[in-house]
């Protein structure tokens, strides 16, 4: 049995315990379980999520929410340099940098997500969502130090990974020429 399969099984067991105690545990539940396992396997295999993340999700949401979110993804809005909005669905586990690139959104990513460039800088437009993100690591903060037009809710797009709580998040792409104040968004200096 490969390592991934072992992990998958562990998750399955964890999840199983959870769903049998849930209110709506039923026949339908086990179908969803299968779906979950499939999707989780995909996420793990493709390095889109860690076991740790998956276990955390399983223990925190009902199965149907997980299945739904993972299939269609969460809603994310990018506001580009000219203030134009683009709405996307981003699968759980995918970074905002990858999501932007898959959808032809012009977000730079000079180091391709290896935390060495700061060009994937995005601004989380609502503090409420910013607070839902895990705190940036020292390494991310080191790169944010150098980001152009840093604000209090700045993050690196390659480090923001889609998870269910982020459904509805809005991200602005800062530009040298863009004046946020005009759009009603006032960046706070650090």
């Amino acid at each position: 049995m490969t390592e991934t399969k072992v992990i998958q099984r562990a998750i399955f067991q964890k999840h199983h315990q959870f769903s049998t105690t849930a209110d709506n545990a039923s026949e339908q539940g086990s179908e969803q379980e299968e779906k979950c396992v499939k999707i989780f396997g995909h996420q793990l295999l493709n390095g889109l999520a860690t076991t740790h993340q998956l276990v955390a999700w399983v223990t925190r949401w009902t199965c149907s929410i997980i299945v739904e979110d993972m299939m269609i993804g969460i809603s994310v809005t990018f506001v580009d340099k000219d203030g134009e909005e683009k709405h996307l669905k981003v699968p759980i586990g995918m970074s905002m940098l990858e999501a932007a690139h898959e959808n032809d959104i012009e977000l730079e990513g000079a180091c391709e997500g290896s935390l060495a460039c700061s060009t994937c800088h995005v601004i989380v437009m609502d503090m409420e969502y910013y607070n839902k993100l895990e705190d940036p690591s020292d390494e991310e903060n080191d790169m944010l130090d150098l980001a152009f037009g840093l604000t209090e809710t700045s993050r690196l797009g390659c480090q923001v990974i889609a998870k269910p709580e982020l459904d509805g998040i809005r991200l602005a792409i800062p530009a040298a020429t863009r004046n946020f104040a005009v759009d009603g968004y006032v960046p706070k200096p650090h």
Binding site: E108, A110, C111, E112, S114, L115, A116, C117, S118, T119, D138, E139, N141, D142, M143, D145, L146, F148, L150, A175, A176, T177, H190
Partner: protein, 485 residues
């Protein structure tokens, strides 16, 4: 009326771009050059961009500056390679502005010339003894370990001394310190030049002084580089705790700058961690603050060689705008060392016919438009001539800074096209690439196209794979040019 004519002519030119493209030449293939080419082609379907570089290899300081143990930083060359693979973009290596071709000739051949040839010389201290053997600029030292063909033979003497002094506390200084102090086994699997690796393997340097003329609050490095140098395996860090005391002016600086605050915090933390007792042979990194280079002194037994430095202790003086400068206090101190690396900043060099601000070491410009002279008159512009990157802003900023810099220059260029400043000229067809190649052919210049670089690239990777390195850089002109053929 003229403007109107120009505009219609221009729009015709762009709508029927097949027979009348806007010919642009970008000089320099570092980040500034590549970002300029990318933005230009994106903004205008009618622009054809030729990038020339004096080296047979592209990417500027991403290849010859960025440290060998920072492979992630170099990933950006993937993006640059995609730019040059565009059908409207070409790369011509081994073409030097100023010797293969003059600026006047280039401006004749193209509608627009964007200069992005960086900063290939050094600030000098202007103090006695600066020419002694054993003193190198960090630029040369970095070129040497990164396999730049101009510095293969630098051969710094790291064998006859256990102490090195690095002047300056910017990121380049920290890179150099790290290369000197990091276990060589860790460097062996990077793309460091093999000639440098051999010298480092035999290095007897155990102690490195990083000397700044101001205090820990003003250190010019960034947190990422500092964290890395502080984390070198098995190294002892010395930071004088007394120097960490902050004045009210320092507090103010820290409050206003996130970078400075985080750098200061890292230094304070490292200072309080550094109390363990030293082990025999352990390498040491000493941060020395408030010391201004005063003079170099010559060795008694090795004529013409440096054996140490006089420093003047400094105090900080506010000069307004929250800035503090270092002023001498009249007290002096020496540090003995037979190798000194000056990392006090790079400097651009002018070419014939180019307005140049010798004091600042940049091309006088307004948002990337080259000014006729540096007198400050912003109305006299050099038509069709633009500047970007370190040559425009001076030698500071990371790779990404050049992206915004290029956006600004390209925006100016298109404003000028739109407003007619450039329009009349761009109505006439220009010889562009064909003219350039004809002229260089007549002069027997061996132009290295991108496919030539690709041959170098694959050879380097192949040689590297034999040694468990990502690449083995070819570090002589002969090898590079032969392989590119």
């Amino acid at each position: 009326m003229a403007i109107f004519q120009a505009r219609t002519c221009l729009s015709r030119a762009f709508s029927t771009l097949a027979y009348h493209p806007l010919r642009v030449c970008v000089v320099g293939s570092g980040p500034a050059g590549f970002y300029t080419a990318e933005k230009l082609m994106k903004a205008h379907q009618g622009a054809e961009v030729d990038i020339i570089d004096r080296l047979p290899t592209p990417f500027g300081l991403v290849r010859s500056g960025v440290a060998p143990d920072h492979p992630e930083t170099k990933i950006v060359v993937n993006q640059f390679s995609r730019v040059v693979q565009h059908e409207r973009c070409s790369f011509f290596g081994n073409v030097t502005l100023g010797s293969s071709i003059s600026l006047a000739e280039l401006r004749e051949l193209y509608h627009v010339v964007v200069l992005a040839y960086g900063a290939e010389s050094d600030r000098v201290l202007g103090i006695p003894g600066e020419d002694l053997f054993g003193i190198h600029s960090a630029r040369e030292f970095v070129w040497w370990y990164n396999g730049h063909p101009d510095c293969k033979n630098l051969d710094p003497d790291l064998k006859n001394t256990d102490t090195a002094v690095i002047l300056g506390q910017g990121n380049v200084a920290l890179d150099v310190a790290r290369i000197l102090l990091r276990p060589v086994t860790e460097l062996a699997t990077t793309d460091i030049a093999t000639h440098a690796l051999h010298v480092l393997e035999e290095s007897s340097i155990r102690r490195v002084y990083l000397v700044g003329r101001r205090g820990p609050v003003q250190a010019a490095c960034t947190a990422k580089e500092l964290r890395e140098v502080l984390g070198i395996k098995d190294i002892r860090i010395h930071i004088p705790e007394a120097d960490l005391l902050k004045s009210p002016e320092d507090e103010e600086e820290i409050k206003n700058s996130r970078i400075q605050r985080r750098v200061y915090e890292l230094l304070s933390k490292a200072a309080s961690n550094g109390h363990s007792s030293p082990r025999l042979g352990q390498r040491e990194l000493h941060f020395v603050f408030f010391r201004k280079p005063d003079s170099f002194f010559e060795s008694d037994n090795r004529k013409g060689h440096v054996s140490g430095m006089h420093f003047e202790k400094t105090v900080l003086k506010g000069v307004g705008g929250g800035k503090q400068i270092a002023v001498g206090s009249g007290q002096f101190e020496d540090i003995e060392s037979r190798i000194v690396l000056k990392s006090i900043g790079y400097k651009s060099v002018p070419v014939d016919g180019l307005p140049f601000d010798h004091q600042k070491g940049v091309v006088p410009n307004i948002r990337g438009r080259v000014l006729h002279d540096s007198s400050g008159d912003q109305t006299l512009l050099e038509e069709g001539l633009y500047v970007c990157g370190w040559l425009k802003r001076g030698p500071t900023g990371i790779i990404a800074t050049n992206l915004y810099c290029a956006e600004e220059t390209v925006a100016s260029l298109f404003e000028d096209l739109d407003q007619g400043v450039l329009a009349l000229q761009s109505c006439l067809p220009k010889p562009g690439k064909e003219g350039l190649l004809r002229l260089l052919g007549n002069r027997n210049v061996q132009v290295v196209p991108f496919s030539g670089w690709e041959r170098i690239d694959s050879t380097e990777r192949r040689l590297g794979s034999l040694k468990n390195k990502p690449r083995e850089k070819l570090a002589t002109w002969e090898e590079l040019l032969k392989t590119a053929m």
